[in-house]
Subunit: 131 residues, 6 copies
């Protein structure tokens, strides 16, 4: 259960509904996921979050699938269950194969492992790595 | 300062030196960075870590640059200073442009932000996201 | 499910029951929440935790509502589901309005975002910020 | 050292300099701190971050000092050294007394402690805490 | 729900089944827990993880029960629910008494608390602690 | 640099000095480390932290060296540099050998790795692991 109710289209105010409609149009699906329905209690936060997300995740120097996998990596390191589920589903929808997913998990695991060992050893940064 | 000394080639034992040589050959540089010199106090851990890292980061379904950026993402979420520096340098060596780096940072920041809001709201996972 | 059973008043020993009674008196409710019932397996840990919590959360230079919101912020960054739920409920009971809650979430999200970008960039601390 | 150079006013492009000027005006000081100088390599990210930060941290239902202390709390839980320093300095500039700071640290420590114990025990959320 | 299905013995391929059989033999139980059944989608990752885990958790300079408690401590700090449950169960199976468990939780809580206060204060490392 | 000055014996008030003296007596050394000197600005927090630490880390069902290694494990997962350094030094002072340290690091790394993979896969908890 969320700390707030998940607002249906009817329960959401007009500003929130307008964002719901943009999400539907952008994703070409009628389904609006729970994150946005929970955020709809604060239409300004909903609007700011959607506008920013849309811009950041758009195609650019990195392709959208790479961006989704980066999102999964951060969400996993942060232990955010919802975020792992929603962005893994999004990565699959954008073309992540089983093999790519296996390698994503292997890199996350490897990074977590060396993060732990490096932090335990408190390894000082090599001068050659600094800008 | 590390919690252990950083072993020079001379101070490292023969098993550790053998790993140093493999690192030099694989990366085509004489430079062996501090992480491996700190790990050299435990040759078995050094060997296991290098062997696994080499396999995980090799080209596969994901290209090596994407893997380095995923490594940076995880290391950033975990707050591992050394790991951020060393893998950002590695990503640049593998071709990460300024524009790609800017987008990487933007995705990390966006993921951190929504991770925080989702966790604060305790949004339940949508059924459609589940396998 | 917890890793231990949640002890009812009957199952708890006399030292644990004494803490339960103090919790009831302090909060003016008969309800003792699951955290304390799980901790009751170790009466000394239960006692030490309750005594310290009571002191730390008491009115002081910061008012109790601000303290609860700080607790929510830390618990969210740590991804502790139970803690987010219990302290969000406590903050509401102490007067957190919907508008305050929206701003709390926005600050948490903003802090998470810049934490990520700062860590990715490894920004050195400005001299003017140091004591 | 950062992963990028810290751009002086001269080295920054016109869009970044415009943000620097807004920061100076908003804070009534000529000093622009390192975070913004590192971000200036990506003027779009700099602009988006400053615009959002300005809005989120403005007076609202929560006063700016409370918001700064919430920022310190999140940054501490995330272990972001730069963020802890810069927002502790900001909180002091907005009126945080020594006594308030001591209580802030005590609440952070208490929250971290019970986060750990709750997570270790995997305490299930009480029904009464759910929305 | 996992992001992938949990593979039964029948659904798993021969390489995955071979690992399942090694797990059964090593633990002297027919039960193969969900982690391995989820990993079975990627037999190479399953094999590498099991081989490494077996080696790391074997008796050595530290006894297996101490290793399991260290695993619980790391998993708790990372907020990994599954890991906390599985390694707490494993620690109990290896002889962790209620009293030991209470002390484990108390140390975890204490460490979390001082981690938070130290990070909030940004205490510099004493020279005497450096290698 | 800390966010506060490190108080010398002369600068600390009488309540803080009394705690310094207890630390000296308990550890049989004249050296009082930076954590306590930073905490001395808030004598009540200093007193509460020292009293609790002393109790938690005392010999019990777990021996003090195991407790120090657990402290290192939590501090590493949390990325607390000071805590890693001070408790690694304490563990060595209590008898941690090089071999034990290598195994400690290996377990931390293994736990971090599987924490990441489990979280990425969102593996559901097996019924047999629940209390």
């Amino acid at each position: 259960m969320a700390t707030v109710s998940l607002l249906s289209d009817e329960a959401a105010g007009p500003e929130a509904r307008a964002v719901f409609d943009e999400i539907r149009a952008a994703r070409q699906t009628d389904y609006v996921n729970n994150f946005w329905r929970a955020l709809a209690h604060d239409p300004a936060l909903l609007r700011a979050t959607w506008d920013r997300l849309k811009g950041v995740m758009a195609p650019g120097a990195l392709d959208p699938l790479v961006k989704e996998m980066l999102y999964v990596a951060v969400s996993t390191a942060n232990g955010c269950e919802y975020c792992v589920h929603s962005h893994t589903a999004a990565a699959r929808a954008k073309g992540m194969s089983d093999e790519m997913y296996g390698e994503l998990l292997a890199v996350i695991g490897m990074a977590m492992q060396t993060n732990g060992i490096v932090t335990g050893l408190q390894v000082p940064v090599d001068e050659v790595f600094q800008a």
